[in-house]
Structures are given as structure tokens and as C-alpha cells.
Amino acid sequence: MLRALVLLLALALGGCVLRGGPLPPGGPPGAPAGGPQGPAPGAAAPGTQAPAAPGEPGAPPRPRMGPAAMALLGQARSQASAGEFAAAGATLERALRIEPENPLLWAELGRLQLSQGNPAQAEGMGRKALAVASGDAEAQAAAWGVIADSLRARGRNAEAADAERRAAALAPR
């Protein structure tokens, strides 16, 4: 039951990205959705900001993806649905070169690995998505979803269940 719920959530999240959704236009270059990229020289070095509490209600919506990455994501999805997985992967890599810290793109690449039957690689992508999703509960949930499915695909059910619980806990209320 729980698993079905998580899958539904993951699908809903995936769908949100797929449709492009009500996303504001892209953020400034070099400042993709992965996190603040502002200059932070000297001793007041990076990381001085407290990590945002996951799923914090009322957090201002952030631009999730610029139009270039969005266009490439759409292209990758049509390639994948035509069974051209390698081409879809190459297109997603183009998007990642533009927004290397966008967790949604990493999660998408993980999903693609899953559909190609590479769960171990999918887990790597999911973990990478998680690492760059700091402060973005939805993206974290999507990342945990990929990790859960990659574990499940290799029969690591206990770990998968744990990952699913994390995904569910992070999903927007």
C-alpha cells in the first residue's frame, strides 16, 4: 500500500516535470536550481547559510529549470518514448552540462537508467540528485524514489522500503 502511494507520488512528481508545469522562466546562468551560487569569497566561505529544513512550508518557489534544459528534457523524453535510450541519455547529458546541479535532471537520468535495466547506475544518479537537492523537498523525494526503485530492482527490499519512507515523508503536503 505504502509502496503504491510512493509510486503514485513519484509519478506525480515526474509528471510535473514532464509537463513543464507552472515553472517560472529559468534562473540566471550558473545559478541553476541546485543551490545558491552567489559569490562567497574569503573566510566567509560557502555554506554559511543554514540548510533549509526539508519540506518547509511556505518556502518561496524557486526556478526549477531554465528554458534550454527544459527543451532538452522534453526532447529526451520523446527520444526515450521512441525507445532511443542512448540518444535520450545523450540529450539529458546536454541538459546537465547547462545545469549540472539540477537534481531533477539527475533523477531523470536515473529513471532512464532504470528503464534500460541498469539499476546500479540508476542508484548513482539518484544519490547525485539527492546530493544536489539540498533544501528542495520535492527534488529530494524524486531522488529517493529513484534510489528506492534501483534498490528494489536488485532485491534489496529493506533498504528500498527505507528509501520509500523517506520519499513519502518529503512529499509536499
Partner: protein
């Protein structure tokens, strides 16, 4: 007697048949072999790309787009204010066929603001065609870019005939009239001076590499030329000649064919050459070294104009056209056009050899797309050349010049964007980036501290002892390492031990963790084979190539994710279908918490420690992290470090392993800083992972401190639960105080809640 004659005739006929077979086979082979063509990464244009208009124009020029006032054909562009209009050439990507089209690029001070097609519609993203960076040819040193007859300007074959072989269309491979004339000249001079060779004979000579001119060889050449002429059409022979003939030398690299010669001398495709430029190439045919337009410009100019007047005389050009062309300068680029990167190609070749036979690479017409970024490659080459020159002036050792190597990567994708194999960047010889196995020295230290942070027993403020170390080795020997300045510093916090690269403190930590643990960390980050497990490994007695060092540091730059470095993205077959892809792979090899703490320590190396001399050379807002490395007796000077977008590894040293007198900070660091400054990347600025907080400590003591109670403070990242003693008098509650207990309790409770 008759019998003898018969035998001789038979032998002669057999010899002719043999030559016929030999030359025909050679020609057929050449005609149908297509070397793999290797391309750089295409430049992706999109709104928001930080590429100001002048640099964008430079990138178009690199692809041989010509700046014009009216866009008349593909391969041209015009600028008006902040707007660049480009007539794009047609391009054939494996997943996208694009016709020639117009693109308008609107720029602001940062870079591209928007892209529009001819109808004014927004274009979200568009790839320029990739730069051809070379081809993989069978014979070492012989390079060429094969052109099809469609890519050849009609003036070229006409001019070749007019100047080299007037009766090419009518003779049968040899031209008796020309030979007699040449023979007459030769007899009078009593030595062989004049060729009188047809284009077909020259082609034969080029196939069999016989430069010595003896009568026997000339006879053999003539027989073969006749054979070729009998078997193949004039058009085929002309096309073979255009792709075959030797037209210049660049170090070890022989420039063959007009396709490559056009790139080599003018930096643009053969099809775009004007009459003067075609005439110069035709002039060079007669003696590529004697008429070298870069080294002997006067001679080359005189011969080019001779060619032009010959063309006018034979009505290939009008007198006015020839005169106009003769008034032009030579127009060659000052140095061979930049699109030749032997060290990078070397890596590409080795990657491909794992999956393809040599023959497939040199003959099967493959197209290879790589990750090379010409801008990064240029930055790496120029910085290395300039800095090594400067360092040569500083050092005391005799005249022998220093050597160096550079590898640049994009950490998140594992793309290798630039490789420099030595200071003579166009030299296709010893590739130090791939083949120089050198002691990594202090480059190993981050992996020791990462192991320490992962153990949970160390953090940035942990006090370690910088005291003499004595390790008993097998066989009764002792290992007694020393600090760089032969001094000891007593108790120091981890942040300082790493920033100042203290040997004794680090060895102490490494021995505490155990050599096998540290070796395992290096292995996780991609070091193969596993390093020898000896204590001296803790001070970098591990030989790595610059490329291997880049592989190790790529994991540090990529937040503890390992991805195999790759130069090749895709290989496309002659039929246009993808044969093989090298997709992105990532594996997490360190916890985000330990990795983040280590990266913050490496930021302090740049701010407080051995990386500090780089700061004035870098933009103030470019946060970077890195580590210097100096092997024993200054034999190797390393620097490896990264921003948020690029990782660069630099090695400086001598090929014979002689001491350089430079530390990593003095030798490799300035090269590194210049490269990082010209790459124009963005700051390293990762958000802290769960459970890690910032804390201010006193740099010398490692005690928790506040402004006003300690002058020399540094902000480090530590686990939220870490117990770090406060500097007395800093206004922190004393340990054991009920308030402290309450705070740490509520911290733990919050922590649990978040999980």
C-alpha cells in the same frame, strides 16, 4: 643468346606486372580508407550562457565563420551592436540534421540574452557545428583531412595542371615530352635536377616514400604511373593527388593533402580559399620546406606570384584577377591553426583502441565526438607555455627548459575538456599528461584527511600532533619523515595541518587510521592499481600520471562521486548510426558529510595555506579549493584544484626526474591559477549537507572562538554534534554547564526530528 633475352623479357614482364599489382593495390587501399575524424565538443548556445559578444564572435571565427556586412552564404556572420546574425552552415549531428539557417543572437554585458530564428521565434538551445580537431591515420605522423571533389575549389585542379603537369588530361601517366626536356637539363648539369614528373608520377612517389631520385627508381615510378593511368580515371587520380601530396611539416606531424594544408596554413576549409590562397598552396607543392610560407615568406611570395602569372598566361585566371591576387599578402596564420591537439588526440586514440582495431580507426570512416573544449584547451596551452617561460628565467639550473602537463575536467560529467602533454603543445611526442608517472607528493593528503573525517574521530578542529615520527620498517630499517622546513609545530588543528601541508601531523593521522584504510580511499576514488601499502605512501610515494591525479581529484570536486573521466562521448559509423556511446556514470564513493567537510578544508588551503599565492591571480569572487604537491627534493611540482565548474591538475618538472627547485606553490600553482582565471567558471559553493554546521575557530589553536576574543579565526564546517572546546574568555558557556547541556540536548532532538 635468344634464350637469355627471352628470360630477360619474361622477368621484365613479371616485374611490370608486379609493379602494376603493387601500385593498384596501394591506390585502391588509399581510395577507400577513411580515417576516423575527431571533433571537439559543440558549443551550446542558449539564453543565459555567459559568453559576451566579442568572445562569441571569436568562437565563430574559430569555426571559420567570416565576418561580413551582408550575410550572403552559410559560414558568414555580421555584428550590429549587441546583436550577432549568423548564417549557420548545415550540420549533421547523430540525433539532429539541420539545414543551413539564420540565427540572431542578442547579447547583453554578461552574455547571451536570447536566440531567435529567421522568423523571430525564440530558440531555446542550439549547437554550433563542432570543431574538427584531427583524424586518426595509420602511419605515425602522417596527418590529413580528406576532402571530396565537391569540397575542392575548381581553381585548384586547374592550377595544378597548369603549373605541374600541362598535359595531365591527355598523357598516359608519363609525359615523354616533359621527360626529354628534363633529361636534357639533367645531362647538361651532370646531375639530376629537374623532375618533369606528371602528377601521377608524383602520386606514385608519395605512395612509396622514395625521395631519392635514381634512374632505376624513376623507371619504376614511370611504370607504376602508366599502370595507374591505365586503371583509373583522371578525376580519381586528381582527387587522390589532392588528398595525398605532402605540403608541410609541423614537428613530427607531416601535413598531407590540400584539405589539411588549407587548415594548417589559413585556418579555414579548402572550399573557402580565394585565388591567392590556392596559388600559394600550389606554389608550396614544389618544396614544402624551401617555400614554407611561415619561415621563408619572401620565397613563398615570389613563387606564389610566379604561379599566378603562369595561371594568367595559360588563361586559367584573367590578367586582372591574377594581378589582384598577386597584390594580396600571403594571409597565412602566424602559427599552425589551433585545432591540433596531439595530447588530447592521444587520449582519444587510446580510449578507442580498447574497443576498435587500429584498422577500424584508420579506415572505417568513423566520426568521433569528444569532450574537448577549445576554449579550455587554449587557456591550458597558453598558461603552461607562458608560465614555464617565466619559471625558466627564475631557476638556477642551466639551460634545460622545464616541462609540464595539464588536465582540465568538468567534475559533474567527468568530461575531460583539455589535455596538454608538454610545453611544445603541437608536438606529437611524449605525452606527459598520460605517460609521466610521477610521485604525487602532498596531493595524497586530502585522501588521508577524508579517511579521517569518515572515521568520525576527526573534524576540522581536532588537534593533531605535528611531532617527529619514527616508523620501524621490515628489515630493521626506520622511516623518519620530516616537515618541509625540517621544523615541528606541536599540536595543531586539522584545518591548519592540511592548509600548510604539515608532513608529520599528516603521517600521524595516517598511521592512526592505518595505511590500508587510506589506500582503500584512494582506490575508491579510482586509483588503479591499488597503491603499495607502505608508510611512505602517506607522503605521496605513489606514482600517478597527471590524468590519474585528475581522476582522483575529480571525485573530490564532484562531492564524493566517482565518474570515469572520458574524452570520447560517441562514435558514429560511416552510415551515420551511433556505434558506441560512453555515457555518464556516477558512483558515490564518500559520504556527503565527510566530503563537504574536506572540500571546506581545501577551500582553506587556498585562503590560508599553500594555495594562497593563487588568490591575487583569481577573480575575488571565485571560490576555489585545492592542494599543492611537492615530491622529495623538488622533483615534482603539482597543483590540483577546482571551482564549482572546473577541475584543473598541473604538473611541472623535468623529464629526467632532476630536482626543479620549485614547490607545488611556486611551480605548478601559478600555471593553475592562470588557467582557472581564464576559464571563467563559477565559484565552488555547495550547500552544507544535513548535520553539518559552520563554526568559527581560532586558526592556531583550533578552539571555538568569536569575533573580539580571537584575532586569527577561520570558519570551518563540522558535524553539528561535534564537541569543540571553546577558547576561554570567549563568552561561551563552560563545559558541563546546565545551559550547554540543554543546548546540545535540543540540538540532538532537532537533529532526530529532521531525520
Amino acid at each position: 643468346m635468344l634464350g637469355l633475352l627471352g628470360v630477360l623479357a619474361l622477368a621484365g614482364a613479371a616485374y611490370v606486372l608486379y609493379l602494376d599489382l603493387l601500385v593498384t593495390r596501394q591506390f585502391e587501399g588509399r581510395r577507400w580508407t577513411l580515417p576516423a575524424q575527431v571533433y571537439a565538443a559543440p558549443l551550446e548556445l542558449y539564453a543565459g550562457l555567459q559568453l559576451p559578444a566579442p568572445e562569441l564572435a571569436h568562437e565563430l571565427e574559430r569555426l571559420h565563420y567570416r565576418r561580413v556586412t551582408r550575410l550572403d552564404r552559410p559560414g558568414t556572420y555580421r555584428t550590429s551592436g549587441a546583436r550577432i546574425d549568423v548564417a549557420l552552415r548545415p550540420v549533421n549531428f547523430p540525433d539532429e540534421k539541420r539545414d543551413a539557417q539564420l540565427l540572431s543572437i542578442l547579447c547583453d554585458s554578461n552574455g547571451i540574452e536570447s536566440l531567435q530564428d529567421a522568423a523571430g521565434r525564440e530558440v531555446p538551445v542550439l549547437r554550433l557545428e563542432p570543431l574538427l580537431i584531427g583524424s586518426i591515420f595509420p602511419i605515425h605522423g602522417e596527418d590529413r583531412v580528406v576532402v571530396t571533389p565537391r569540397e575542392v575549389p575548381p581553381l585548384l585542379p586547374a592550377a595544378l595542371k597548369a603549373v605541374e603537369d600541362r598535359r595531365f588530361d591527355s598523357h598516359r601517366g608519363v609525359d615523354p615530352q616533359a621527360i626529354l626536356r628534363a633529361l636534357w637539363v639533367d645531362l647538361r648539369a651532370r646531375q639530376i635536377e629537374q623532375g618533369g614528373s606528371t602528377l601521377t608520377q608524383q602520386l606514385v612517389r608519395s605512395y612509396f616514400l622514395s625521395s631519392r631520385q635514381t634512374l632505376g627508381r624513376k623507371l619504376r615510378e614511370a611504370i607504376m604511373a602508366i599502370a595507374l593511368d591505365a586503371h583509373f580515371t583522371k578525376d580519381d587520380l586528381m582527387n587522390a593527388y589532392i588528398n595525398e601530396i605532402f605540403l608541410g611539416q609541423d614537428g613530427d606531424r607531416a601535413i598531407h593533402g590540400f584539405g589539411l594544408a588549407s587548415q594548417f596554413y589559413f585556418g579555414k576549409p579548402l572550399a573557402e580559399l580565394d585565388s591567392a590562397e590556392v596559388a600559394l598552396l600550389v606554389a608550396v607543392v614544389r618544396g614544402p620546406s624551401w617555400y614554407d610560407p611561415r619561415r621563408h615568406a619572401d620565397r613563398a611570395l615570389a613563387r606564389r606570384n610566379l604561379v599566378l602569372s603562369e595561371l594568367a598566361e595559360q588563361h586559367v585566371l584573367s590578367a586582372a584577377e591574377a594581378a589582384a591576387a598577386a597584390s594580396k599578402p600571403l594571409g597565412v596564420t602566424p602559427r599552425p591553426a589551433g585545432a591540433y591537439y596531439p595530447a588530447y588526440l592521444d587520449f582519444v586514440r587510446r580510449t578507442l583502441r580498447r574497443d576498435y582495431r587500429e584498422q577500424d580507426l584508420t579506415e572505417a570512416g568513423l566520426t568521433v565526438y569528444t569532450s574537448l573544449e577549445p576554449r579550455a584547451q587554449d587557456a591550458a596551452e597558453h598558461s603552461l607555455e607562458h608560465e614555464l617561460e617565466r619559471l625558466d628565467h627564475l631557476k638556477k639550473r642551466g639551460a634545460e627548459p622545464l616541462e609540464g602537463a595539464v588536465v582540465v575536467t568538468t567534475p559533474q560529467s567527468g568530461d575531460v575538456t583539455a589535455i596538454v602533454g608538454g610545453r611544445d603543445v603541437g608536438y606529437d611526442g611524449f605525452d606527459r599528461a598520460l605517460d609521466a608517472h610521477r610521485a604525487m607528493g602532498s596531493l595524497v593528503k586530502p585522501f588521508i584527511y577524508l579517511t579521517a573525517l569518515e572515521s568520525g574521530r576527526y573534524n576540522a578542529a581536532t588537534i593533531v600532533q605535528d611531532e617527529p615520527v619514527d616508523v620501524k620498517l621490515a628489515g630493521g630499517k626506520h622511516w623518519r619523515p620530516e616537515n618541509f622546513n625540517h621544523d615541528t609545530n606541536g599540536p595543531v588543528p586539522v584545518v591548519r595541518a592540511l592548509a600548510e601541508s604539515l608532513n608529520l601531523a599528516t603521517v600521524g593521522v595516517g598511521l592512526d587510521l592505518g595505511v590500508p584504510k587510506v589506500a582503500a580511499t584512494l582506490e575508491r576514488f579510482g586509483l588503479t592499481p591499488a597503491p603499495e601499502q607502505v608508510p611512505a605512501m602517506l607522503l605521496g610515494a605513489v606514482n600517478v600520471t597527471p590524468l590519474e591525479a585528475a581522476q582522483l581529484y575529480n571525485g573530490l570536486a564532484n562531492g564524493g562521486f566517482h565518474n570515469p573521466l572520458r574524452a570520447v562521448r560517441t562514435v558514429i559509423g560511416a552510415d551515420g548510426k551511433a556505434l558506441k556511446a560512453f555515457p555518464l556514470q556516477v558512483t558515490q564513493v564518500a559520504t556527503p558529510q565527510a566530503m563537504y567537510q574536506l572540500d571546506r578544508l581545501l577551500v582553506q588551503v587556498m585562503n590560508r595555506g599553500t594555495g594562497r599565492p593563487a588568490r591575487p591571480l583569481l577573480p575575488a569572487d571565485l571560490v576555489v579549493a585545492g592542494k599543492s604537491g611537492t615530491s622529495s627534493e623538488f622533483r615534482d611540482s603539482w597543483f590540483a584544484g577546482f571551482s564549482g565548474s572546473d577541475l584543473t591538475v598541473v604538473w611541472v618538472g623535468y623529464d629526467d626526474d632532476a630536482p626543479t627547485g620549485f614547490t607545488g606553490s611556486a611551480g605548478a600553482l601559478p600555471v593553475w591559477a592562470h588557467i582557472m582565471a581564464s576559464l571563467g567558471g563559477h565559484a565552488w559553493n555547495q550547500p552544507a549537507p544535513e548535520g553539518i554546521v559552520d563554526m568559527e575557530i581560532e586558526y592556531p589553536s583550533g578552539l571555538r572562538a568569536l569575533p573580539g576574543c580571537a584575532d586569527d579565526r577561520v570558519t570551518v564546517a563540522v558535524p553539528a554534534a561535534a564537541q569543540i572546546p571553546a577558547k576561554p574568555g570567549c563568552g561561551f558557556p563552560e563545559a558541563g554547564n546546565p545551559v550547554t547541556t540543554l543546548i546540545s540536548r535540543s540540538e540532538r532532538w532537532l537533529h532526530a526530528l529532521v531525520h
